[in-house]
């Protein structure tokens, strides 16, 4: 078992280091994105299909009651959350890759607490999902979805997306720490993405769900992410305190869980 190093430390210096590590990993993620933009394009295809085909069709059928909000408007925030989820849930593959490549070993012997490394990676996943969210926002605007253009609200949208990505990428890194292999992580990722997506309010209101699914949707952080996005983007009433509290608590819990399993990956 690993023993926590007893180093004299001040809380202030620790927080600064944490922020510095998060900044470093976000920067590295941006550098990687700049060198290889193909993923941005390929990742954009699926959310576009959801909006253009599923969204437009279901708007015509009017099968899902969304009050006086057009279904496409209702769907757009859900698809932002979904596309961010899809990026984040496979983010743990990167850490297994870095482990197999020996990079993780070198990261673990830099003067960085494990939680700072995991937090750095979690927010780097957030950087990747921001690019995703922007693509979906643009496509939604082109399809005539009437969203807010208030810059403060749009910044809050990005914050919500980053928090969601931080949680789901930590879930992915936690699974990575348990299964230790890329193919197993891929399998589990694929097995849980759709249930997470369907057991949320991304496609339809919670009020339409059978009771058992409603319970699942209430413990699913994706639901709170979608609620906050819907509130910010299309003005649907929501409890922001609850949404942000759930997302922040989930992200912190995810970071702790993934950090505690990081030593398993180092062996």
């Amino acid at each position: 078992m690993s023993v926590a190093p007893v180093v004299p430390r001040s809380g202030w210096a620790e927080s600064l280091r944490l922020l510095s590590r998060i900044g470093t990993f976000c920067l590295v993620e941006l550098q990687k994105l700049r060198h290889d933009r193909t993923e941005l394009i390929t990742r954009a295809i699926q959310p576009i299909l959801w909006l253009v085909i599923f969204g437009v069709t279901f708007s015509r059928i009017r099968a899902i009651p969304t009050g006086n909000v057009p279904y496409l408007d209702y769907l757009a925030p859900g698809i932002i959350a979904q596309s961010a989820l899809f990026v984040a849930i496979f983010y743990g593959i990167q850490i297994i890759w870095e482990r197999d490549a020996g990079i993780l070993t070198k990261l673990l012997v830099t003067p960085s607490p494990r939680s700072a490394l995991v937090a750095g990676k979690a927010f780097a996943a957030g950087v990747r999902t921001i690019s995703q969210a922007i693509v979906v926002l643009i496509v939604a605007a082109l399809l005539g979805v009437s969203m807010t253009w208030n810059p403060l609200k749009l910044l809050a949208v990005l914050a919500v997306v980053v928090l969601g990505a931080a949680f789901f990428s930590c879930l992915s890194m936690t699974i990575a720490g348990l299964v230790l292999r890329r193919d197993r992580l891929m399998g589990i990722g694929q097995a849980i993405t759709m249930p997470l997506f369907f057991a949320s309010n991304a496609l339809y209101p919670v009020s339409l769900m059978p009771d058992w699914l409603r319970v699942l949707s209430h413990v699913n952080p994706l639901t709170y992410e979608v609620s906050a996005l819907r509130g910010l983007l299309i003005g649907q009433p929501t409890n922001y305190w609850l949404d942000f509290t759930v997302l922040i608590v989930a992200a912190v819990a995810g970071i702790c869980a993934a950090a505690s399993l990081l030593s398993r990956l180092a062996r």
């Binding site: 078992m1 690993s2 023993v3 190093p5 007893v6 180093v7 280091r17 510095s20 590590r21 900044g23 470093t24 920067l27 590295v28 550098q31 990687k32 060198h35 290889d36 870095e98 197999d100 490549a101 020996g102 990079i103 070993t105 070198k106 990261l107 673990l108 012997v109 830099t110 003067p111 960085s112 607490p113 180092a266």
Partner: protein, 275 residues
């Protein structure tokens, strides 16, 4: 503090009674080792001798299970963060991020070691210059040859100006030209910064050329320590370090080293990644 007029210098590395177990397998068995500051110390032995495990306890990756390990007088168990700042570490595997340029790879580690922002760019350029990668610095590292990757890793390990450089099999898997160039860099860096170097190898030639002191490890135990010249002289004028190893362990170094499973795994991983 001692009032002694000529105080003993604090050893760069002091390992006492270190044992490390993986399940039933005792990888390191009651190891005692001292490395003096400024010297190049070679840990020799075939794969499975316990060299890498020893380095991984030393660099704080594995907490010591028993015994004590100190780096410049600091205990790796209780002062891990401080020890990490004093170390540069190059693992056995070729391990760089191919999706970043050479410069970005080094800059990444400069940030992780808290190199101040004002000095960062100059420091990164300096270490890239030392390893002769200035011209290739802005190319993606995935386009580098094996020798260039290893030199880039040396640059990464140097960027925090470590007092102790830890190299795990620095030239395994490299062709002779790349090997020579890595050896030249290590010697150059030692002269330039006077840092202590601890390396593991199963190449006798490497140990003979680079190391002031060598220790022979076999099945987790230390079999002999001394200067290469001294160890060879004990066996006679014609003896090589290979003979020294055979004398102390009764086994050949190269024979075991070549077929090792870990080597295969390392090479396969590298091939996959460079792929």
């Amino acid at each position: 503090m001692s009032a002694d007029p000529t105080p003993e210098p604090v050893p760069a590395v002091q390992i006492a009674g270190l044992s490390h177990r993986f399940g039933d397998h005792l990888a390191v068995d009651a190891l005692d080792l001292t490395v003096s500051p400024g010297e190049c110390f070679g840990l020799l032995g075939p794969n499975g001798a316990g060299k890498t495990t020893t380095l991984r306890v030393l660099n704080t990756l594995y907490p010591p299970q028993s015994g004590t390990v100190q780096v410049f007088g600091l205990d790796v168990r209780t002062q891990a963060m401080v020890v990490r700042r004093m170390l540069g570490y190059v693992p056995q595997q070729l391990s760089i991020e191919g999706a970043l340029t050479g410069r970005e790879n080094v800059s990444w580690f400069a940030r992780l070691f808290d190199v101040p922002r004002r000095e960062r760019a100059a420091r990164v350029a300096e270490v890239l210059e030392i390893v002769d990668l200035t011209d290739a610095a802005d190319r993606l590292a995935s386009t580098y040859s094996g020798g260039m990757v290893r030199r880039l890793e040396l640059a990464q390990a140097l960027v925090n100006r470590p007092a102790l450089l830890v190299l795990d099999e620095p030239t395994v898997g490299l062709d002779p030209v790349a090997r020579d160039s890595v050896w030249a860099r290590v010697q150059d860096m030692q002269e330039r910064y006077g840092m202590t170097v601890l390396l593991t190898t199963h190449y006798m030639e490497e140990a003979d050329l680079l190391c002031d002191q060598v220790a022979l490890m076999h099945h987790g135990r230390l079999r002999a320590v001394g200067t290469p010249a001294h160890l060879k002289a004990e066996l006679g004028p014609q003896a090589s370090l290979e003979d020294v190893f055979r004398h102390h362990t009764g086994e050949s170094l190269e024979g075991e080293a070549k077929g090792g499973l870990r080597d295969v795994r390392g090479t396969r991983r590298t091939a996959q990644r460079m792929g």
